[in-house]
Symmetry: C2
Subunit: 695 residues, 2 copies
Amino acid sequence: MPHSLDALLRPESVAVIGASDNPARIGGRPIFSMLEGGFKGRLYPVNPNRETIQGLKSYPSISSVPEAVDSVVISVPEKIAIDVVKECAAAGVKSVVMFTSGFAEIGAAGVHAQSELKTISLNSGMRIVGPNCLGVFNLNQGWFGTFANTLASKKIPTGPIGIVTQSGAYGGHLFTITQNRGVGTNYWVTTGNEVDVDVAEVIEFYAKEPDIKVIVSYAEGIKDGNRLCKALDAARKAKKPVIFMKVGSTEAGARAAASHTASLAGEDAIYDGVFKQFGVYRAETTEEMADIAYVCQFGRYPSGPKIGLQTISGGIGVQLADAATKYGFDVTPLPKNTQDKILNLIPFAGVNNPIDFTGQVLNERKLLEESMRHVIDEADYDSQILYLASLPISQFTKDISLEIFTSLRKQYPDELMILSLIGPPEARASYEALGYPCFEDHSLAVRAMAALRYFGEVFKKEEVVSPILIDKKPVITRGQRLSEFEAKKIFYAAGMPITAETLAQTSDEAISFWRKIKKPVVLKISSPDLQHKTDIGGVILNLDNESEIEEGFNKLRDIGKTKANKNNIEGIIVSEMVSNGVETVLGIVNDPVFGPTVMFGLGGVFVEVLEDVSFRVAPFDEKEASSMVDEIRGRAILNGVRGADPVDVKALAGALSQLSFFAAENAENLSSVDLNPLIVLPNGTKIADALIITK
Amino acid sequence: MPHSLDALLRPESVAVIGASDNPARIGGRPIFSMLEGGFKGRLYPVNPNRETIQGLKSYPSISSVPEAVDSVVISVPEKIAIDVVKECAAAGVKSVVMFTSGFAEIGAAGVHAQSELKTISLNSGMRIVGPNCLGVFNLNQGWFGTFANTLASKKIPTGPIGIVTQSGAYGGHLFTITQNRGVGTNYWVTTGNEVDVDVAEVIEFYAKEPDIKVIVSYAEGIKDGNRLCKALDAARKAKKPVIFMKVGSTEAGARAAASHTASLAGEDAIYDGVFKQFGVYRAETTEEMADIAYVCQFGRYPSGPKIGLQTISGGIGVQLADAATKYGFDVTPLPKNTQDKILNLIPFAGVNNPIDFTGQVLNERKLLEESMRHVIDEADYDSQILYLASLPISQFTKDISLEIFTSLRKQYPDELMILSLIGPPEARASYEALGYPCFEDHSLAVRAMAALRYFGEVFKKEEVVSPILIDKKPVITRGQRLSEFEAKKIFYAAGMPITAETLAQTSDEAISFWRKIKKPVVLKISSPDLQHKTDIGGVILNLDNESEIEEGFNKLRDIGKTKANKNNIEGIIVSEMVSNGVETVLGIVNDPVFGPTVMFGLGGVFVEVLEDVSFRVAPFDEKEASSMVDEIRGRAILNGVRGADPVDVKALAGALSQLSFFAAENAENLSSVDLNPLIVLPNGTKIADALIITK
């Protein structure tokens, strides 16, 4: 299936404008790399001042090149760059790689030049990567649209990894680090200023490209959140792990914070939500990215939490068990029967889990193999980690060790086993070739296995059906100001239960409602002008007799008169006092990048002090909502603590999903929403307060 | 100053029993290593069957050796090991290193043999390391009481690190990993079964040993917590960083959990408290231990939080800033004046902080140096991290780069700068020699700097005066059962304020107390038999009129009659209802390893759901108590949230310190204490409930 980036990333014909005969110069490096790397296509150097470039015929201009090439590398100074890009477009070039800097990254003058580029691209359909990027490469094709000299100077092992980064310098750094970690990269793209091609589109390309099995991405800022979500979804559907480093300020910056939700919606918290929603592994450090990419390239993912830990050192067994437990693995003991068999072979072995073979396996060669066969055949572990110290590489044991692992691999081709062993990268190569990932640090092996397990779960999910928006008309209009009473009516109409309530104009009306519901009531001023009623004493809780209600009513009426525009007081809300259940906070924030996004948190200190909240991009289904609920730290509250009944988590998930649909349907006109609290009862939920802020 | 381990770790005369002429055998390796390593002392092989061993005269028995040696390596089978140890003791040997296994680690039979060893050691005063250990070494002395062949087979760079581990296999592993990381170890001790010498005593030795500047320790279980605390305190006083990995189950195991505090006092949480109390850095992984040990060996610690970040890649600058912020550094911008100077030198530089020199410094050689001088001279940063990619090692820039950093070091000998650069270890050596720690991964450089800052703060603390226990008589006796009322009287007598209250025998007494204090009251059954009153409805809150009080009193009296031994109901506690302030939980648990240990947490969900608590070993002063308060996640509650007044944190710290003294004074007879809640008011604190469980 053709992809919009085929011409750029799988070109059959390429020109280099500003080509140099000197392989060391920026204009010479791409040609040198392609000659060395065996570019599988037609290569045209463009330089009006020379007959030949590095042995190839040189063309005076792009228009004199005998075909409309797939991709052009532009390595000319900024002052003539725009003209060169125009020439390319005129010549029918399909894509250009722009190293040239001096555009948006330098401020106002550059912004203008960059918008010119944008216009050329839009009008001609010619794709542009950059400007201010370090280019692209595709190893299998021998295509080097980059001057990065890390690449030209070393033998690069091809592999199933696709890298895409915004920063060129960091892209080069990441490539070096991943190479050192033994990660084989095939595609590498740096998107620079992203005048046209962005990180999301490249991820989408990788999701479709059969040569790529693992996607590694780095971004500082995303302009189009929706496109990113679609690309991540495509990668998940293709069962390709995405490892992402998103950096940037953790502060909410200049966003509006009129609602509670908005003030909690730091950019970073939303990215966290998006990454969880689309099954992305968020890496914190380059070392972590390289480690996880490395282990993913072996393509085996555990199908469950049961892990077998095997070691030749008791101390390291304890560490493995600690780490595995911390990462949520199930360190199930061996079956009793298997324990006995191993004890028969190795009398002092630890046979629970971790399985400690002790140093004895160093002396008696076949013990290790026999024990391991018992474990694999009988224990039903979803994954295994083996700490072998230097056994697989020391001169005395390396041959037998390799023999054992070769024979095991033959018999158990799908068995997922990570080896922890000490030694130089070369020494590990033969185990890696057999499909065993190798780690020097056993704790990092556990972290890597946890990442595999994360992806295993992500890929196991039945095809996520993106919820389809029924084309409902938005119910919110721009500039509308809504009171609590009106807001709750809107959610009620959208199918979300609210507290029993009425809008009273007199204390008699209030009292008669109290008589009707036979429960204590809450009184609240209802006015679109009063968004934060509690702050001005506009809420009175738990009234349960006539005189209290009358007194409260009059007090609120007086406050209302002074605090709100008199015409805008609709009356006093009289609502049932809900005293059981768990208070939660649900919200919507209309994020500038990702659009309508839903927040969930528990009430009280959880949101106010601990900022224990989760986010998802709207709309989403109940399953996604459940995982959103499950990931907060205070989750146990919903199960009932201190003798309280468990509450209806299914109904809560339903409410979150419904709210997400409401958010999506009203995205155009909505700024933010707080349902604070939404009370989760043993059966069902009730919105007890609602605030809608429109655009 | 002599130390109890001098003979073991700095011996001037050494014998090897079970010596072998073959350097490859276990009994041959120590001799071979000492001959190779140039042991600075007298070496006596013991083997009755040979005239010479590896060219040295061999002695038939330890008694025939011409002096009472400082240390003996015992490499004989378990069945004759005890006899050999006895011979050593008889010959006046000062210490032995026992490789032999087959003791407590194999179960009952071994336990007996091990207790024999213990007896020999106690009676003779001869120190024993092991059994079942991998031995010890001291490089400067050329002393190799180990058969680990990782050591014999490679050139070991001496350095200021002392390693001590319980597990021999892990000790060897750690040594290899730290060596690969460029960490220079001088002393290495594995303590095995710890029949005599334990990890704590070795730490104490390292604290006093001038050759050691950094202590790296690993333990699975500590028998004597008090001794460990003393050793850690000695290290802190000597300004030697201790990096500790403590592994083992995170579950509380078989401990009594009659009190709330006890159930929260998981072994791991107490170790966390101890490590914070004594300024220890707790490492999670071997890689982390090696990294932190590596950076500590340079001996420079920041004196404050202000960090300067410099980079030649904008993308990595963002990552550095993110990581530094996350680790609590203060990423202060450059002074305006300095910004201008740098912009004059490098027009497109980022000059806030991170300082982005851009790739231009690669072309113009002296720009980097001039800019850096401005930063050092004018910005007053406590530490700096520089990301330089491969600049300091690539063929074009390495000479000038080394020149720059040499000249900077000359002028600023104390400037703490970590370099992040890509390249093999060899390439970094010249920068390390100048005192610049080097990291490939810039994020790990930030983690390392955070560790240095941690130690900087630890060492900066004015000498911690260990609180001195005035020799008070314990007020708690063994087996005593105390009611809430009695327990509170005890704390009141110890100087801790409690709620105003009385013990009423009649409802009239209760009412007259209510009249006296003019506040709502709480009624509680007081009986030493009822430790958990709330569970049986034995507490009624917030009563504020005569009939309510009378009714409540009668209800509790009836409950008391059925639930408690009638004779043991002391009466009904009538106490003031404290409705302002913040509820906290203070507790004491008498830990089997560390003795009386104090817990702190906030009331409600913080303790119940989030287990957000901190621990310290008793006794401690108010300053330590403050840091205990500061480290909980919900700390902000005490500053007042949602319009509440801030509460008296100083009084809270005072209460914690007082409780710690009470704990220490009554350690003999106390099992656990809960003050739940202790209410922290805007002024002062009040204990509202207290439970004392004695041994």
